[in-house]
């Protein structure tokens, strides 16, 4: 039934947990994007107007933080519509026919290829994307994907700490279920996890996807340490709750369900059973508790 089935990215509970962890740093979300230079506008407001403006800003920020979908890789298309072997040898290059009817969605558009050997087949996903971009161009997308998305050049991007920019470019260029999109996203998440640069994505719409990827592959230790070091205990508990939702058969999940643990105890149980970098997390927890003790004492 619904509860025993594996929770997917789009479930409400999962989305709410991921959204809480993303954080809402208004300074970072509305960081100035490079546009043409205009002199700044100053407004004189009362307290009430300032609150109203902040509230509107929070709503707009929520719109900007909607997470892009995480889908499985699409199956390649190989569907033959007609075989006319006697046409072999008449042409030297293939014909690609695209249906230009304006009102049909791009997924249902007919794009067929007549090969020089006479076979009439449906176009592959790459051919489809190219043809749709030629006839129905979308902003920010190029007909041939930029060379930047190849593996050898992604390293340069990561060295400059521009993970968010490359992920935004990737969303503009590829469809969410294309293998290129998934490959670029996984490379970015792996690099972030390798160098513990979690804060780069913290208040952006890519954070949820990254957490989903890490939890599915059980590589959550670095993220946990980072959260404890920044005193984000609530985020740490939501991370562990998500982990238990996705892997209900692990020891800490069962222990948590029996004991109904909350907060720091949950983290401690999780650390004892599931993590690889136990010592680091214990150290971070100790530092956090000492900091709490000194702050409450003083």
């Amino acid at each position: 039934e619904g509860k025993t089935a594996k929770p997917s990215f789009g479930d409400e509970a999962v989305q709410s947990l991921l959204y809480k962890m993303t954080g809402l740093n208004l300074q970072k979300v509305f960081r100035p994007v490079k546009k043409e230079l205009k002199p700044p506008k100053y407004k004189l407001m009362t307290e009430a107007q300032l609150e109203e403006a902040t509230r509107k800003a929070i709503e707009e920020a929520k719109e900007k933080l909607i997470m892009p979908p995480v889908l499985k890789e699409r199956e390649p298309i190989d569907d033959v519509l007609a075989e006319d072997k006697f046409l072999e040898g008449t042409e030297t290059t293939k014909y690609v026919f695209t249906d230009l009817t304006y009102s049909i969605p791009h997924r249902e558009r007919f794009i067929v290829v007549r090969e020089p050997n006479g076979v009439l087949r449906k176009a592959t996903w790459e051919e489809r994307d190219r043809m749709i971009q030629i006839f129905f161009p979308k902003e920010g997308r190029r007909v041939i994907p930029p060379v930047l998305f190849k593996d050898e050049h992604l390293g340069t991007v990561f060295r400059q700490d521009r993970h968010e920019d490359i992920l935004n470019m990737c969303i503009a260029q590829f469809e969410p279920d294309s293998p290129d999109y998934i490959r670029v996203h996984h490379r970015t998440y792996d690099d972030i996890e390798k160098d513990a640069k979690y804060d780069l994505l913290r208040s952006t719409r890519h954070f949820g996807g990254m957490v989903w990827y890490l939890v599915n592959r059980k590589k959550t230790d670095g993220l946990l340490i980072d959260m404890i070091n920044r005193d984000l205990l609530d985020d740490a508990t939501s991370l562990i709750t998500l982990y238990h939702m996705l892997h209900p058969e692990c020891l800490s999940a069962k222990a948590a369900k029996e004991g109904k643990l909350q907060g720091v105890d949950l983290i401690k149980v999780f650390v004892k059973t599931e993590s690889q970098k136990e010592s680091y997390i214990q150290l971070a927890l100790q530092a956090y508790e000492e900091a709490m003790a000194t702050s409450t004492a003083s």
Partner: protein, 133 residues
């Protein structure tokens, strides 16, 4: 202006709507627009509606790109438009219409000519004066 009106509102006697190719582009660079127009109009002149395009030269990926607005094509065919022979052949290749018989005949003729050319040089080299093909 008065003089523009007499040129634009041309009335023809007879004629019918055809769907055909209108040639455009530059020297040594053709580009066809698939167009519904009156049969008496100039080939590249005023048309009723553009229904697609065809680029006869192969692109970087070795394919000849063609776009067809099938919905409007069906509308004009329903209005009684006729097709030119190259348009019929193209739609046959696309799969929208059945394959044109001349495409099949052309393929047959090409194959036969190629077979004869392959046989004739072999015969030429083995036997001196070749028989009539």
């Amino acid at each position: 202006a008065l003089f523009a009106g007499s040129r634009l509102l041309k009335g023809y006697r007879g004629g019918h709507v055809v769907i055909r190719f209108a040639l455009g582009g530059c020297t040594n660079r053709p580009f066809f627009r698939i167009v519904a127009a009156h049969s008496r109009r100039a080939r590249d002149g005023k048309y009723l509606e553009q229904l697609g395009c065809l680029d006869p030269l192969p692109n970087a990926h070795g394919e000849r790109v063609a776009g067809l607005n099938l919905e409007r094509l069906r509308h004009w065919l329903g209005c009684g438009a006729q097709l030119s022979r190259p348009a019929e052949k193209l739609l046959g290749l696309a799969g929208f219409l059945p394959l044109h018989p001349m495409t099949v005949t052309g393929a047959e003729r090409l194959r036969r000519r190629r077979a004869q050319e392959a046989a004739a040089p072999a015969a030429d080299s083995s036997v001196g004066p070749a028989d009539a093909p």
